[in-house]
């Protein structure tokens, strides 16, 4: 067989495989699975509640470290501003987190980003994000570059079709899942009181063998998504503040260069960082079921620290002063 013929068969097979994957992705678009439907319902509930909150408001955009760790109600009361906790899950990545938060942010609002450390190193989608995007995230998918879209096309598993068929065949499953998601959203967006684990479990086991790496992937998908969100917000006169994510006390807190890189990254975007990494670190007794989930007492401590930090933060005070006038000028 000639080399030309070999190459022809090779290319045709490769194209066939790509086509099959594309068909699989196309077939699955809009097909809900239990996990995907829960995430979509949860985000939808947050958008409904967040949109109902009047401008100017401070919207906390991050993963579950903020969801479980910042009490938006107390924060709002202590600072005399409206605060909504739009914390989702770190596994959804900073791209979807910021994209969905854009749906509730209005000119004159402010976004506070206590994004997880993994967001700065984020590159490719996890299963839960793929599930959510194929369930309800076509608008998010459309917003991505072709290379990021390719991630999603190649990432969807064919067996997800079975998960979806099974989920849809169960009577009332969708209604129950949506109700469950709605129950999990507190009035100000944060984790409702009943959702905290009753008992503290072993939380620091993973850190000893696999230390948390504080790493910023400069040209990575996570950094790009954050930069794109900041540009979007600034173009709409939405203030952006950033702060550090909640974690258990990290041994490398004093020396790691990663913290400085994150600070430099935000400085380049024109975003002020509120506080220091240590301000978001809590001892083990104040943590719940993960090393980045404070328990109820931890949430109170972290919220109070944030109150003090924001009171002393020039960018926040400027936004609070300017918020109303910005809104009136836009309207």
């Amino acid at each position: 067989m000639t080399a030309g013929r070999y190459l022809l068969i090779f290319v045709v097979t490769l194209c066939g495989l790509v086509l099959l994957t594309g068909v699989n992705a196309w077939l699955q678009t809009g097909m809900p699975t239990r996990n995907g439907y829960y995430i979509c319902s949860y985000i939808h509930e947050k958008i409904v509640r967040g949109s109902a909150m009047p401008t100017p408001k401070l919207v906390i955009v991050a993963g579950s470290n903020a969801l479980a760790g910042i009490d938006a109600q107390i924060l709002g009361e202590r600072l005399s501003v409206h605060v909504f906790n739009f914390g989702l899950s770190a596994s959804l990545g900073p791209g979807l987190q910021t994209f969905e938060s854009e749906k509730i942010l209005r000119p004159g609002d402010a976004a506070l980003l206590p994004l997880e450390y993994t967001a700065y190193d984020y590159e490719t989608p996890e299963n839960s994000l793929v599930d959510a995007v194929y369930t309800c995230g076509t608008d998010y998918l459309r917003s991505l570059s072709w290379r990021e879209k390719l991630f999603f096309v190649l990432a969807v598993r064919p067996q997800r079709i079975l998960d979806s068929l099974l989920f849809r065949s169960q009577r009332g499953a969708m209604r129950m899942t949506a109700a469950l998601a709605a129950r999990d959203v507190g009035p100000y967006g944060q984790r409702p009181g009943g959702n905290f684990p009753l008992h503290q479990v072993a939380i620091d086991t993973g850190l000893a063998a696999e230390p948390l790496l504080i790493h910023l992937r400069g040209g990575g998908a996570g950094a790009k998504a954050i930069a794109s969100f900041v540009a979007w917000a600034h173009a709409r006169r939405i203030a952006v503040l950033a702060t550090w994510p909640n974690t258990i006390d990290l041994p490398q807190a004093a020396s790691d260069r990663g913290f400085a890189r994150i600070r430099e990254f935000y400085a380049r975007l024109g975003v002020a960082m509120v506080g220091a990494p240590r301000d978001a670190m809590l001892p083990a007794r104040l943590m719940g079921d993960r090393f980045y989930h404070p328990n109820r007492a931890g949430m109170a401590v972290r919220t109070e620290r944030l109150v003090q930090l924001l009171r002393g933060d020039a960018a926040f005070c400027h936004w609070r002063q300017a918020g109303l006038s910005t809104v009136s000028s836009v309207r």
């Binding site: 080399a3 070999y6 190459l7 490719t124 390719l150 086991t205 000893a208 041994p251």
Partner: protein, 504 residues
């Protein structure tokens, strides 16, 4: 730019291939040669435009020194002073970028008031410096006669080998870049090139990265959390396979890429873990570096011509320098010295015991493999403390972790206490130990039981029992496409990881 990144696979490579064949067809081989040179420089610049400056300076200086050396040799005049200057310039450049902070750190440790400098290491500097040192020596010996500048730039910067080798020779590359040779080239080598590239990519993304996930957490935290017996062995064996699949995968990809353009690079790996001695190991691991060290360091030092003692000293010097070439750290020097010691013992064994003391092949292979794995601990560890912690773990000095339930069952009948191993109650992390064991078993089956990629693709004689020899048959084309597609899917479902040798 990484060979396993999307931008390389979907944008750079197709564009360069298409441009190369189009340029050759429309404007001739010279245009294709220039296109390939520009593409290689663009490939290098993608890793940092500022690094083009030391690369360009090195190319210009070596080109002119090499030309002059050739003229001096042809006219029968002395070449040694200029050759020494040229080598010193190359070593100086490498030393400045790679070893300045190592030196300052050691001075600081010795009590001198020094501070580290902010020096970024240009990618591939170790490789292109060694390539050009070899060129200068060949030129001084009258072995480098072709001096077309564009071709010389392409010889140094040809992107498949620029970042992490193989370390190539002027005499084996320059003729291949000649317009007439490029003109003759066709699509004939493309199938084997694509197959080799796909095999290399599979080694990297399917195997090396899986082993890295097992090894890295333990090595990264060894200094602060010393691993127990199983953890240390799991990490050591995982790294032993990781570095093999990573570097041989890279080399396969480099050879495959070059073949796509009709260029043959020298073979760099030939089943090193099948070796039955350390001498054999170094003849099949990173072969082009071994060749460089032998031809340009070991033999000029006297090799084995000046007595046994001198040979052993030469071996230790060469291996220590080889270790230091890999990285500016004492762990690398010790790794090199350890291998030097292995070689000395190996030579002494051959001399003292002769053929009568030959081991069974399986025992020799296992012993060689374990010695190599043992040395990789130094190579991988971030510090001497980390290496010490892993070695302590390998010998059971950090105890052995058993679940409290199992400890309760064992009661007083604990076999490990007889061996002096401290039993530590606790649980393994998710991946230990059965997953590591299963993956290492798979690694062993592949490196010991299967023909290597060179044999599969016809660049080395295949063993008689092998049924994997590559042919341009439809089944191979389909298998090649499936393998490449599987790799691309994996590349897209995880973060792109760097090749280990990119750091050197």
């Amino acid at each position: 730019m990484l060979f396993n990144s999307d931008i390389f696979l979907f944008e750079f490579l197709p564009a360069v291939l298409a441009g190369f064949f189009l340029a050759k067809r429309i404007a001739g081989a010279r245009a294709a040669q220039i296109w390939l040179t520009l593409a290689s420089l663009a490939f290098y610049a993608a890793g940092g435009v500022r690094f083009l400056l030391p690369l360009s300076a090195s190319i210009f200086a070596n080109y002119f020194v090499g030309r002059t050396l050739t003229r001096l040799h042809a006219s029968g005049r002395k070449t040694a002073p200029l050759l020494a200057t040229g080598i010193a310039l190359n070593i100086g450049l490498l030393a400045w970028y790679k070893y300045t902070n190592f030196l300052l750190g050691n001075l600081q440790a010795a009590g001198f008031p020094t501070t580290a400098l902010h020096i970024a290491l240009p990618i591939g500097i170790s490789f292109y410096t060694f390539t050009q040192i070899a060129f200068l020596v060949d030129a001084a010996r009258g072995g480098a006669e072709e001096y077309d500048f564009v071709r010389y730039v392409l010889f140094v910067t040809f992107f498949p080998h620029l970042i992490a080798g193989p370390i190539v020779h002027h005499r084996e590359m320059m003729p291949q870049f000649a317009p007439r040779r490029l003109e003759q080239g066709s699509f004939d080598l493309l199938p084997a090139g694509i197959m080799l590239f796909a095999i290399g990519l599979a080694k990297k993304v399917l195997l090396a990265d899986s082993f890295a996930a097992m090894a890295s957490p333990i090595f990264d935290s060894a200094a602060t959390a010393p691993p127990d017996l199983l953890g240390a062995w799991g990490a050591t064996l995982s790294y032993t396979f990781q570095i093999y699949f990573d570097f041989s995968g890279y080399s396969d990809m480099a050879l495959g890429l070059a073949l796509m353009f009709g260029i043959r690079l020298p073979v760099n790996f030939l089943s090193p873990y099948k070796s039955t001695s350390i001498i054999e190991f170094w003849r099949s691991w990173h072969m082009t570096l071994s060749r460089f060290l032998r031809d340009y360091l070991y033999i000029p030092l006297g090799g084995n011509r000046k007595g046994r003692l001198r040979r052993h000293v030469n071996l230790l010097i060469v291996m220590a320098i080889g270790g230091l070439w890999h990285g500016a750290g004492w762990t690398f020097v010790l790794w090199g010295l350890l291998h030097g010691t292995y070689l000395v013992i190996n030579h002494a064994w051959i001399r003292l015991a002769g053929a009568s003391a030959a081991m069974p092949v399986w025992a020799a292979r296992l012993l060689t493999f374990l010695c190599v794995a043992f040395a990789w601990v130094l190579f991988r560890s971030d510090s001497l403390e980390a290496a010490r912690a892993i070695y302590a773990g390998l010998f059971g000095l950090n105890g052995i972790t058993l679940s409290p339930e199992l400890l309760a069952v064992l009661g007083h009948h604990q076999p490990f206490t007889v061996l002096g191993l401290q039993l530590v109650p606790g649980y393994f992390q998710d991946t230990l130990p059965w997953q590591v064991g299963a993956l290492c078993l798979l690694g062993l089956i592949i490196v010991w039981g299967l023909p290597n990629s060179m044999e599969i693709c016809g660049f080395a004689p295949a063993p008689a029992w092998s049924k994997f020899a590559f042919h341009t048959r439809p089944a191979y084309a389909v298998a090649n496409a499936v393998l490449l597609f599987a790799c691309i899917s994996v590349v897209n479902s995880g973060a792109v990881s760097e090749f280990i040798y990119y750091r050197f």
